[in-house]
């Protein structure tokens, strides 16, 4: 019943009344306006310096010219291509595994939700090396030696984020009621899932996708341990020979990833706004609001 806005630490619960009656309010943010504006600028400035200064320095170190030569470097295209392929494969597997599981847990086994949260957080706690060994033990032989083995590992790494994003999305829906409404109107399970549940989870799914893609595009440890030259590995290897080009490639990858995430976020928000949802951000999930009676 209660909608949850902003998982990932916030866990702000909104009572049904609040949803129906004065759902426009955002309780936790209500008092921001009362704080002196100057402190907001100070914090913003400090954070800006902290995040932007290294980028500016890196940009000056690399120089404009190295950006042009990044693309012609050997291994650039293949490593970037591999990373993108892995991102796609990982995202598909993650969504296909996590989405039905989470929906099922919400509908039929709400009692084990806490347990699920505990289980899904494990990949963050367990060192990557242990996970690799574990995946190697159970992975089908045909995958061993191919880079797609990495996808299986990334699925596990992405699980905590994907699960939380989708879980938050489901919490913001009155899932049981809309599923029963759909059933009573003659929709079977497939129709209910495709036409009623999924369209209302676009925001949550986008969050899951964004997080998974960002994770795969930036992952270094596992790829380098498994001896595959993904884009982050290529950047590191290249830095041994040409520091400037490597830094330029890093900046480029940062920019491209950022652009990609922005595109998903903006597109998702536009889509969700037109249907009454909220904005798409990495952890905040749309909350359906009503105007009361």
């Amino acid at each position: 019943m209660a909608a949850v806005a902003g998982r990932g630490g916030l866990g702000e619960k909104v009572s049904p009344q609040a949803r129906g009656g004065f759902g426009r309010g955002r309780p936790l943010r209500a008092n921001t306006a009362e704080r002196p504006a100057i402190w907001r600028w100070v914090v913003l400035l400090l954070a800006g310096v902290f995040f932007l200064l290294p980028l500016i320095v890196a940009f000056r170190f690399a120089g404009i010219k190295s950006f042009g030569s990044v693309i012609s470097q050997s291994g650039f295209t293949s490593s970037l291509g591999l990373s993108v392929r892995l991102a796609v494969v990982t995202t598909v597997i993650t969504i296909v595994l996590i989405l039905p599981t989470t929906v099922y847990v919400h509908l039929r086994l709400p009692g084990i939700r806490r347990l699920m949260e505990g289980i899904t957080i494990l990949p963050i706690v367990i060192p990557p090396v242990v996970l690799i060994v574990g995946v190697l033990q159970i992975a089908p032989g045909s995958l061993k030696g191919t880079p797609y083995l990495l996808s299986l590992e990334y699925v596990i790494l992405a699980m905590p984020f994907a699960y939380r994003a989708i879980d938050a999305g489901l919490r913001s829906l009155d899932l049981k009621t809309i599923v029963e409404a759909s059933n009573s109107l003659g929709a079977g399970w497939l129709n209910t899932l495709l036409r009623v549940v999924l369209p209302n989870l676009t925001t949550a799914l986008l969050s899951a996708v964004v997080l998974t893609v960002a994770l795969v595009l930036g992952e270094y440890t596992m790829a380098s341990l498994a001896l595959f030259q993904t884009f982050p590995v290529w950047i590191y290897v290249n830095s041994q020979t040409s520091g400037q080009i490597s830094v330029a490639a890093s900046l480029l990858s940062l920019f491209v990833t950022w652009l990609f995430l922005m595109a998903i976020t903006v597109a998702g928000t536009r889509r969700s706004r037109s249907k009454g949802g909220g904005s798409v951000t990495l952890f905040t999930v749309a909350r359906q609001e009503t105007r009361g009676n």
């Binding site: 009573s184 003659g186 209302n200 359906q288 609001e289 009503t290």
Partner: protein, 372 residues
């Protein structure tokens, strides 16, 4: 397979491929000895109800009495441990919810947030493979019927609670359901909207003649809308009767006290079906109740007690509540018993708190129950 409309009846292809005609009129529903336990709690304990075609039956009872469980079993969302549900004489226990042709309106807002009001109403028709043009036309007509033609393009979050429930009602009626199931559809709304929607639901239901099962904990809602009201307690049906019958001739003390306001007076049960209270001896309305002669409680409605202003009477007026044409007067009787008595407001002016009155029992049959 095409669908076409003829008069009040839509012939369409059912999901299982068989061609069936679902008229909105004339479906009988029988709940037969339904039982359902959740762990050690018996939510339903042998519930049986027969609903005539086109009838609106309200199930009324306190929360946890099993009324919602009964409705959910009819809808197909719960499975009875024993007993069966017959629709037009056929046992539907094994038919999944999606194929039962039952329109349901839920307590919480149940519209699909991703669809406009029109698409919500058209959803059931879409599932029945009605073509786009036809289903938009029918959905439009239904929205018009609930007075929301102008809101067809709005999304649920743009509608008020009352409007959402009206769209939900239109959506449930769009499939021309054999049975309409209403699960406290008004309880999330404010009083004024509730009253309007109550009348609208009843008018529509009578016009369409759809057999309707309505679950509520609000006695006013049940009494004002239903053809018959079934009062439930602890998984069992206490009594099912027309509203006036239920009010005037409650079968049990539970019904008497749950429906309307009821006074409890200490009395003495005599043999021979008579009871003495407030110094008068009157007939017992429920002589077959399991109460033995001796001290009992007598149940009387606020309008069932007589009262006169008199010096040194047996009671003192303590409160006075204006309810419009009548005024409810609280009177403290000797023995620390407080009763509520209704008087026409014109007569109540003389009954200021502190006034001494004489309260008596007219010679009408009364209900008796165990002394509390």
């Amino acid at each position: 397979m095409t669908a076409h409309i003829t008069g009040n009846t839509t012939s369409n292809a059912a999901a299982d491929g068989t061609r069936q005609v679902t008229g909105s009129r004339g479906t009988s529903v029988v709940l037969q000895n339904l039982s359902r336990a959740f762990g050690a709690t018996k939510a339903l304990d042998g519930l049986s109800i027969e609903m005539a075609p086109g009838e609106l039956v309200a199930l009324l009872g306190p929360s946890g009495c099993g009324k919602t469980t009964a409705l959910r079993i009819v809808a197909g969302f719960e499975i009875a441990d024993s007993g069966s549900v017959l629709v037009d004489g056929k046992d539907i226990s094994t038919i999944p919810a999606a194929k039962r042709d039952m329109g349901m309106v839920f307590q919480s807002y149940s519209l699909f947030p991703n669809m406009s009001a029109l698409d919500n109403v058209a959803f059931g028709l879409r599932m029945r493979k009605v073509g786009t043009v036809n289903r938009r036309k029918q959905a439009g007509e239904l929205l018009d019927m609930v007075g929301l033609a102008d809101q067809a393009r709005q999304y649920p979050h743009q509608l008020s609670g009352g409007q959402q429930q009206r769209v939900a009602l239109a959506r449930a009626l769009a499939i021309e359901p054999r049975v309409l199931l209403l699960d406290e559809p008004l309880s999330a709304l404010d009083a004024k909207v509730r009253l309007q929607l109550r009348e609208q639901i009843r008018t529509l239901q009578q016009r369409l003649g759809t057999t309707t099962l309505f679950v509520t904990h609000d006695q006013e809602e049940a009494l004002s809308m239903a053809d018959r009201v079934g009062v439930m307690s602890q998984g069992k049906l206490e009594q099912i009767a027309a509203p006036d019958e239920l009010y005037d001739h409650p079968a049990t003390a539970f019904v008497a006290e749950f429906v309307g306001v009821m006074n409890r007076l200490p009395g003495e049960l005599q043999s021979g079906g008579m009871v003495t209270a407030l110094s008068s001896t009157v007939p017992v309305m429920n002589p077959d109740a399991d109460v033995s002669p001796g001290p009992v409680d007598v149940l009387v409605r606020p309008e069932g007690l007589a009262m006169q202003v008199i010096e040194n009477g047996n009671g003192i007026v303590t409160t006075r509540t204006f309810l419009g044409s009548v005024t409810r007067v609280g009177v403290l009787l000797s023995g620390d018993v407080t009763v509520q008595i209704d008087k026409p407001s014109s007569e109540a002016a003389a009954l200021a708190p502190g006034t001494s009155v004489s309260v008596s029992l007219p010679p009408e049959p009364v209900l008796v129950t165990h002394r509390r």
